[in-house]
């Protein structure tokens, strides 16, 4: 079976215990306005141009056939709708500034990359599936997880839970640790900022926190200024999850200012005109107190 991934990153130190390799699966059914991996939303592959690597030698402009690449005021612009032999242009680029955003591969290819760091997982660590929404390509994800368990590798996932309950039931037995997002408690706002209703997510939260894996689950909310980082939202999420499982772990993630740079790469507008700053320790402490008000005891902030 083949799947589409947009990155495999070794030495991930924050997607679970120990030293991990994170596999980023492409494609996501959500459309969070602040998405931190916007290149992972679409399932389609496309070429990207990295301005900071470019030496502006003009090779790609000279070699393209139908105007797919253009040099405007010194910088390169891609017109990906034009018909070009993009793989060939990428091969021509001496600087590695042109790249496909993703690649298709089979489970074995991914396992080969994962196995490179076996010697590190031995002392705590393993793999994490991320995305995109890793369960968007759930059959592929399942195959990877099964193979990892067969080889004794610790597995984790970072999921939005926006998937079929049956899918969740299928993958759960092969997961040692689950990071599940619950971003917005209010259904209408969820629809507005994320593009879909949160009904499915709430149902899956029940399923997950009622399962035998519940002790290995961390529910997460990323702090987005004015959207998720609001008292009511944090309190409601906390109340909902702790009502299902009082011992639930709830992590409040600081805002990620790194995402903005990726939007230029795929010619999209970011949700904030001016990139907000990281929240301070004090502000994070306040979020934590809101979460506690909602009823969750195990609140994690970094």
């Amino acid at each position: 079976m083949k799947g589409r991934i947009f990155d495999i990153r070794r030495f991930s130190t924050h997607d679970g215990d120990g030293i991990r390799t994170t596999v980023f699966l492409k494609g996501c059914p959500l459309a969070c306005a602040w998405c931190q991996n916007p290149e992972g939303i679409s399932i389609k592959k496309r070429p990207l141009h990295f301005e900071n690597r470019c030496i502006h030698c003009g090779t790609c402009v000279a070699k393209c056939k139908n105007g797919g690449v253009e040099q405007k005021e010194g910088s390169i612009q891609l017109h990906i709708e034009k018909e070009e032999d993009w793989e060939r242009l990428i091969d021509w680029c001496p600087a590695g500034a042109l790249e496909m955003d993703s690649r298709e591969c089979d489970v074995e290819e991914i396992m080969q990359e994962i196995r490179k760091d076996l010697v590190f997982y031995r002392h705590g660590g393993g793999i994490t599936l991320s995305g995109g929404e890793p369960l968007f390509q759930w059959e592929f994800a399942l195959e990877i997880l099964k193979q990892c368990k067969k080889e004794g590798i610790h597995t984790a996932i970072e999921t939005s839970l926006y998937t079929d309950g049956e899918v969740l039931k299928k993958v759960l037995p092969y997961l040692d640790h689950i990071f599940a997002d619950f971003k917005i408690a209010d259904e209408k706002k969820h629809q507005k900022y994320i593009g879909v209703s949160n009904k499915r997510i709430k149902e899956n939260l029940k399923l997950l926190l009622g399962s035998e894996k519940k002790e290995h689950v961390v529910i997460r909310t990323p702090m987005i200024p004015g959207i998720t980082a609001v008292k009511e939202n944090i309190q409601d999420i906390s109340a909902y999850i702790s009502s299902i499982y009082p011992e639930v772990s709830y992590e409040i993630l600081n805002y990620n200012p790194l995402a903005e740079a990726k939007y230029h790469l795929i010619d999209r507008e970011y949700c904030f005109e001016e990139n907000p700053k990281l929240y301070t320790k004090e502000q994070m402490g306040e979020f934590e107190s809101w979460a506690r008000l909602g009823g969750t005891k195990n609140v994690i902030i970094e």
Partner: protein, 782 residues
Amino acid sequence: MLFQTDRIGYLKDKMLSEPRYASIEQALIITECYKQNEHQPRIIQRALSLKAALEQIQISVEAEELIVGNRTAGVRYGVVFPESGSTWVDKEFETLPTRPQDRFHVHPEDIETFRKVIKPYWEGKSLEDVLNERYGKEINEIGKVVKINQKDHAQGHICPNCKKWLAMGPAGLQKEAKEKLKTCREDKKDFYRSVDLVMEGARNFMVRYHDLIVEMASHEADEEKKAMMLKVAENCRNLSIRPAQTFHEAVQSTWFLFVILQMESNASSFSPGRLDQHLISFYEKDLAEGKLTRQDALEIIECMWLKFNEIVYMRNSHGAKYFAGFPIGFNIAIGGQDEQGNDYSNDLSFLFLEAQKHLGLPQPNLSVRLHEGTGEALLKEAVRTVAKGSGMPQFFNDKAVIPSMMELGIEEKDALDYAIVGCVELTTQGNNLGWSDSAMFNLNKALEVTMTGGKCLLTGEQIAPDFGNMEDYQTFEELEAAFQKQIDYFMDKMILACEEVEKVHIDLLPSPFLSASIDNCMEEGMDVTAGGAKYNLSGIQMIQVANLADSLAAIKQLVYDEKRVSQKEFLDALTANFEGYEILRAMMLNKVPKFGNDVDWVDALGAKWAEYFKERLRTFQNYRKGPYHTGMYTVSAHVPMGENVGATPDGRYAGEPLADGGMSPVYGRDITGPTAVLKSVSKLDKNLTTNGGLLNMKFLPEFFKNEAGIQKFANFLRSFVDLEIPHIQFNVVRKEDLIAAKENPEQYRGLTVRVAGYTAYFTELADELQNEIIARTSYGDI
């Protein structure tokens, strides 16, 4: 809760604020002594002049010191040592205060005295001059590819037998020498006589400290302070007549040993080795008898740590570039295994780390020996010490070092007891003349002359035989065959030069004091320079395999496999230092995978040639009948070694530094993360680095911020052990490094930063974010 006492704070500030001077005091004493003893054999001359220095050199003591003794009255003085070489001093005396690296103040009258009294006597007689006369021309001819060391100073990088010294002291060793004299063969008499003389000198040296402190104490009004001074004085007197009995005496005794070794040889790196083992019985006994608390012991240790920083090594300006920061390499190895393979760490191991945390000074060079059974507590404490930012401790791997030493022919019990001398050079303890810095072989220059038909890319000079050039080689294999010939050619010449250097050392610099503390020498009546030690090794450094692997990969892929560029154009680009060949350079940098990213075929190219070099080198025997072996470390030599190499196929410009460390990837070329670096390095067989390897890695302070980070690092080091990599050290990245990364992104592409829970490559961040990270990166943050 342990703390740093006021005494230590005061002594540290005092030491660091004192100006460093060049000193000719010992040179004058030695010169006078030689003049009066012209008829004596060299070993007696050496013994007499050391004895004279021990008895005459000015000494001084700080009233607060618990550990006393130095080779000059001032601290951190650069000692002029005419026996080994003074031509460079003559040339550079005036520029010592202004040279770019390792400056020393100068008393103008010293320059005059030096030129009138010292220089004329030693002209043509010093090690440097004699070697130059005998073999200077040949050494220079290979100089661009092979740098021969120990040409103007005595051989250091030795771990004396501290245990024997502690058990016998100078009085015991003198007695042993006298006994031997009664029964030994006629030709051994000079050796034992010389040991008798230097031990007499050592004892007198200790008594002089006793007398000075007693005199100072007589003016001291504070009774408590006075009592402590008298105790220190008493220690010195006791040590002059008997071995150490208390922990305080044992530390003082150890320090005297190293001061006197330096006075005899003025050489880089005499190292105490496994000091937590040497001292533990004294510590435990005093603790049990209630004579000492942990806090007392820590204060004594910190006093010694300060002393380790008071002796620096003055090199010539060229040498200072290769070994910047006058490192003198008092290396201390803690932890590791005992003879049964059990964990050998003890309470002193922890106190040593504590002392390093408190002081954060460059000496001693603290090393932790890791193995599978290393306790979690010691491992984590070591990581916490690293997080403090001094880059120490560094880590060595028993699982790599012990079997590779045995493969070289070292007995198991000695291999299990290994220690480190200088920076990363491996040694057995107390029985080894390792001669670990015999020479540095620049593999990248050898590749350069392979491509050019023997011409230097920088000057156009013919510096090597013409075995063909790039345009002649129709296949990659043909190029490799020519490369092999160049290696063979320079290796043969290097061996001859090393032999000449050793001969001069035997003739001119026998070292009786050192010999008395090296096993076998006293038994055999044979000086250590002449091969008296149990082990006699010679270490050659391979410079630098990372650049070599990257260069060979670029040639193979771009020229021969993919044929993206012609042989001629490739060579033209290097000759032009890439001017007009920017696209080709970009291809070299970006289209070819690099060492350090866990790409098997690239890593294998480096390993293949390192392996070839090692195997061929092992077929030679050194002048002391011991084996040659290889190391992969440079200290700071990657900078001057790089200045000497033209543009390289890995995309490096002419004159730029080579990879740092020795096993580390080229700056900024490791873009797959730290685990990939370790994997790549682990493909270099452990037997390639029996003389020592150096892997440098950079991390931002954030990685060590909390206990979870400390734990991940501890796990990382456990895997380092499993991967059988001999060495690793961590540089915690400073603000200045980040500013440099912003300006030269190409060299820092692998640098990752954590922003809250997210990781990104620093050089790919937007300007403002880079600035923000720079602003919050400082040690105060940890």
